[in-house]
Amino acid sequence: MALILDVLVQFVQLALVLSLAPLLTGYIRKVKSHLLRRRGPSVLQPYRDLFKLLRKEVVLAENASWVFRVAPYIVFATMLIAAALVPTFATGLVFSPAADLIAIVALLGSARFALALAGLDVGTSFGGIGSSREMMIASLAEPAMLMIVFTLSLLAGSTQLSSVSAFLHGPEVGLRVSLAMALVGLIMVAIAENARIPVDNPATHLELTMIHEAMILEYSGRHLAVIEAAASLKLLLYLSLIGCVFVPWGVATAGQGFGAFAVGLIAYIVKLAVGGFLLAVFETVTAKMRVFRVSDFLGAALMLGFLAALLLFVSQSV
Amino acid sequence: MDRLVLDVAHLFAGGLVLVSFLLLYQDRMFGLLNTFALHALVVSLSVAWQAYIQLAPHLYITAAIALVVKAIIIPVALHRIIVRLGIHRTIETVVGIGQTMLAGIALVALSILVMLPITAEAGTLAREDLAFSLSVILLGLLMMISRRNAVSQVIGFMSIENGLILAATAAKGMPLVVEISVAFSILIALIVIGIFLFRIRERFDTVDVHALERFRGEQL
């Protein structure tokens, strides 16, 4: 009985992230356009786009193989599961033992792997540009992310997200320089991974600066819709990750009953709103950088993560 | 009596060393041949003396071989060869005669030094004789490497052999001496024949094909 209830809660979270993701994207766009003194599309626009695309037919390049057609669903599913495993309004959900932080990072890697292959499948130069640059960025972003994971798990003595956020919620954390470094690093990684300014511009189609958009250039119809959904899920995932780790207040733990869940839900939405707003402001005030400056940007993130971990290693003496 | 016997033996041995130095000193071909004849003569005399004092008649054979082959036949044969092949009459030396003599003295000193630790109960042949024969051998080697002519090198080798014969005969009661000396004479005869057959004019190494050897395989 209790098991069924846990599973139910888990699926609630799954549905929640799935439904909230496009909204978050729309909200960020809205804020950005307000900051630019434009009215901008409504926050529900992403939903409309998705449904529009879903109903359109797919135009496939002659050369596209099954990889091209399967990849979107793989990406979407992986992203969905990963997002569902990050605690949003409650920790200690029933599936959370299935994957710890390292596994979640690896899941994102799988999604990227599939998408990069899809970019190469049609055999156009732009797809190649996209994939190779994406892998270059990933080759720096992923270690940086793992270093941050090291930092957190060394602090909490666990790579299990629930334990981490529980620990960081607890009193004995205090204010730590490595935590600050980790936060900065994580934000930088999140920006790079979600193809936001200054690393990449989600709105551009200027050929030579594209990275993520170049990979999915050949996609259309439902495939494109699924990929867009996956992208917004990824953004949501990172925001909720930052939220549950660095501002763990209000997060309920499993089996606390519906009251706690409701509080957690409200806290979660507030966090998303604040995070999205900050992101929009940041993107508005910064300019995109050259592709080969990205390595320096992410190298800095890697260094931050490494220093944070190193500090903890050195401070933890037996 | 015994004293005198040994002294005579020493006299011959020392004389042999002296003649070896004379060989080193020579710078004309024919003079060298004559000196070598003298060398062989001294050897045969000392061998004969040993035969006499050891009451070992078979040693007379060795003495005879030494006398006939090395004191007479070979010098004559070499004389012929020199004339026939028109070999230069002067001896090409690697280093000056003077340095060679000095080196020779050093060698004699070395051989005496080496013989010192030998206990005297080595028998009637005292260290000195052994030292003498050793120095004769070393002087012969020195001659072989300090002369460029084939002939003088052969003569150097034969003086080595004389030194060996001296040691062998003086080693009282050593068996097979005759056989060994015979075997050696064959060796020498072959060498002389070799010089003649191979038409070796000046040096052992006139036809030095390996100076031409160039590496043609794949490099490392």
């Binding site: 037919e57 496939l60 193989s65 994939s131 080969f292 290693f313 | 080496v114 080697l141 190494d205």
Partner: protein, 670 residues
């Protein structure tokens, strides 16, 4: 009993190789030899598995009256050798299955068949050997037979040189192992491993032995900077042999290291761990960077082996460090990670080499720049290769991820280590490991994408045919194994427990009874992973999404030309090539790692000459280590060679000098 079976299997294999010499002409010999090899290694595999799974594992040993007269040949079967026998014979069995099909395309079977079974037998015997002489003999015999297999295609440019460098490096390694074991055996000549185990070595001796073992086993496994032979030799061999060399033989080298350092050498010092860790980390990163720069498919795979060896040695180094500080369970975790990676790498590296072999037979090409679009011509091979690529890139839910995950867990335990050097070193190595994992993903996006996806870059690639059923079955068996080991790793980790128990005296908590087959190496609230659940969830949700969309929304598809930002049908030449794919990473890491230089000749407008682009890479290990040695030997040979053309008088002078010198020595000696 088990030992007897294994030895007789090796004997059968040796007999088969002798028979193959006689009947190397006919086609039937090919099938026969591979069939015998398949059967023999399958039997051996079964035996080894049974040994590993019996609890507690029975230790058998036997002494045969061959080899060193007064010593005899000792063979021993324990948990460690059991594990490596499983790895060896699994690889051998599937390679033989593959060979049943692949071997038919062999131009010169006479150069492969006699050596192939002997190679398998040698690898088995190395793992079984229990005295220094037998160990080294079988070890070098393994090198010799694999050398012969590398020389099978000796007419191809570079293969002969590859074989030469390989055999030279192998003998170098064997010599240093020989010195190491000679040190352990001592002047009495106690060559038996049990005698060595019972003896205790002095600290200086242990240091020397560790260094020599690192050189000896490391040169065979491909540790940087001793790796130079590996990317030359492994691709040169026929592909199923490449798979064996890369997937299995390097593991036998790891076995040699583990056997000597963990088993024979006694209690480790903490700095051993530091040394091994550093080597492992450097090897991992450099290996994958080298791999990324290749455009020869098989060479890319070979270089990538170097990376995985680095990962394995990272695990081993951690285990040593923990053991030195008496943190046994942590050491057990690290060792389990390393050994599990040994198994995993042998599986997917063999799979990938099989795939490259299928491509080679279908197109006759190893150069990715002339391949492409093969997924349409050989879909099954492509699928298997894709699974292998995903697994080797350490992506869930496949097996490669699990062992790397365990390694990360071990790294996260290391702050408890007291030594400061380790405190600084371990996170750095962790960063290297993360970096190499990420780069590996990029490397295999390139390998799979350029080879199988896109449009064909040559006519051979256009007219490729799917490979035969034997090869396919071999590949799919391995692909299945990748998935199984990825989703239910608990069983495999439990199978490793006796090994860690034998070597360290501790083992991980048993995994198979946990809820939903989750693996929990340390504690529930610390870390856990469940590949099965992830796999099921992802699969169902992907399928569900696709189903719903096709059912509710749309399912029409229209084929048309690629959009490509509106460029009209560009030729396949405009695709991204292997080199251009690697270019961003070459820009980021290449200048540091191997002095990469890019030369662009762009003719002025109106000039008809084509623009050219050259990327120059240098192997620093070769430049700094091997080239000087080569130069020294060459110059020394040249100098000494003058002696050859001296005159007789000069030679006589040598003799005279020798006499005088010895006499002088004698005079002085008194």
């Amino acid at each position: 009993m088990g030992l007897t079976i294994l030895l007789s299997c090796a004997g059968i294999l040796l007999g088969a190789s002798v028979a193959a010499v006689l009947g190397a002409r006919s086609k039937t010999t090919t099938s026969l030899v591979y069939a015998i090899a398949l059967v023999a290694s399958t039997v051996a595999l079964g035996t080894a598995c049974s040994i590993l799974l019996t609890d507690p594992p029975a230790i058998e040993s036997v002494q045969l009256p061959i080899g060193l007269p007064w010593l005899g040949a000792h063979f021993r079967l324990d948990a460690l050798s059991g594990l490596f026998l499983v790895v060896t014979n699994l690889g051998s069995a599937i390679a033989s299955l593959y060979g049943l099909g692949y071997g038919q395309h062999e131009q010169a079977p006479g150069r492969v068949l006699p050596f192939y079974p002997a190679f398998l037998a040698a690898m088995n015997l190395v793992v079984l050997a229990d005295d220094a002489f037998t160990f080294l003999l079988t070890w070098e015999f393994m090198s010799l037979t694999s050398w012969a297999l590398v020389m099978a295609h000796h007419r191809h440019v570079g293969n002969a040189k590859a074989g030469y460098i390989y055999l030279l490096m192998a003998s170098f390694g064997t010599l240093s192992l020989l010195l190491a074991l000679g040190l352990l055996a001592g002047p009495g000549g106690g060559y038996g491993f049990d005698a060595i185990r019972s003896a205790t070595a002095a600290p200086g001796v242990t240091a020397a032995v560790l260094a020599l073992t690192l050189i000896g086993a490391g040169s065979k496994a491909g540790l940087v900077p001793l790796h130079v032979w590996l990317p030359l030799a492994h691709p040169a061999a026929p592909s199923h042999v490449s798979a064996l060399m890369s997937g299995v033989m390097t593991k036998v080298a790891v076995y040699g290291f583990v056997r000597i350092v963990f088993d024979l050498l006694g209690a480790p010092g903490w700095w051993w761990g530091a040394v091994v860790l550093t080597l492992g980390g450097v090897t991992a990163v450099l290996g994958v960077l080298y791999a990324l720069m290749q455009h020869d498919l098989k060479r890319l795979l070979a270089y990538h082996t170097v990376e995985n060896i680095g990962i394995i040695f990272i695990g081993l180094g951690l285990a040593l460090a923990f053991q030195a500080n008496d943190m046994r369970w942590a050491a057990a975790l690290a060792l389990t990670a390393a050994l599990f990676h040994v198994f995993n790498h042998s599986v997917f590296k063999s799979l990938l080499f099989f795939g490259s072999g299928a491509v080679l037979t279908a197109t006759g090409e190893r150069d990715m720049e002339r391949l492409g679009g093969l997924i349409h011509r050989m879909p099954l091979t492509a699928f298997a290769f894709l699974v292998g690529s995903t697994a080797i890139s350490a992506l869930p839910p496949f097996n490669g991820f699990v062992s790397e995950w365990l390694t990360f867990q071990a790294i996260l335990l290391s702050p408890k280590l007291p030594q400061w050097l380790l405190k600084f070193l371990v996170p750095a190595v962790g960063a290297m490991l993360a970096l190499s994992a990420a780069l590996a993903a990029g490397c295999f996006v390139k390998a799979f994408g350029v080879t199988f996806l896109g449009r064909s870059r040559s006519s051979v690639a256009q007219h490729a045919k799917e490979t035969d059923v034997f090869s396919l079955s071999a590949m799919f068996a391995l692909a299945l194994l990748c998935l199984i080991a990825g989703v239910v790793p608990g069983y495999f980790m439990d199978a490793l427990a006796p090994v860690t128990h034998q070597l360290i005296g501790a083992q991980l908590p048993p995994q198979e009874h946990l809820r939903w087959l989750t693996i929990v190496p340390i504690a529930e609230n610390r870390s856990s992973y469940n590949g099965l659940l992830l796999f099921v969830l992802i699969a169902t949700s992907a399928w569900l999404a696709a189903y719903l969309i096709h059912f509710w929304a749309s399912q029409q598809v229209r084929r048309s030309a690629a959009w490509d930002c509106g460029f009209p049908d560009a030729s396949p030449v405009t695709q991204y090539t292997a080199d251009s794919f690697a270019q961003p990473i070459r820009r980021v890491f290449g200048t540091l790692a191997f002095h990469a230089r890019e030369e662009v000749h762009m003719p002025p407008p109106g000039d008809m000459r084509p623009a050219t682009f050259h990327a120059h890479l240098r192997d620093l290990a070769w430049d700094t280590l091997y080239a000087p040695v080569e130069r020294f030997v060459g110059s020394a040979a040249d100098r000494l060679n003058r002696v050859q053309s001296w005159t007789i008088r000069a030679y006589l002078t040598l003799v005279f000098g020798a006499v005088v010198v010895l006499l002088a020595v004698l005079a002085v000696w008194h």
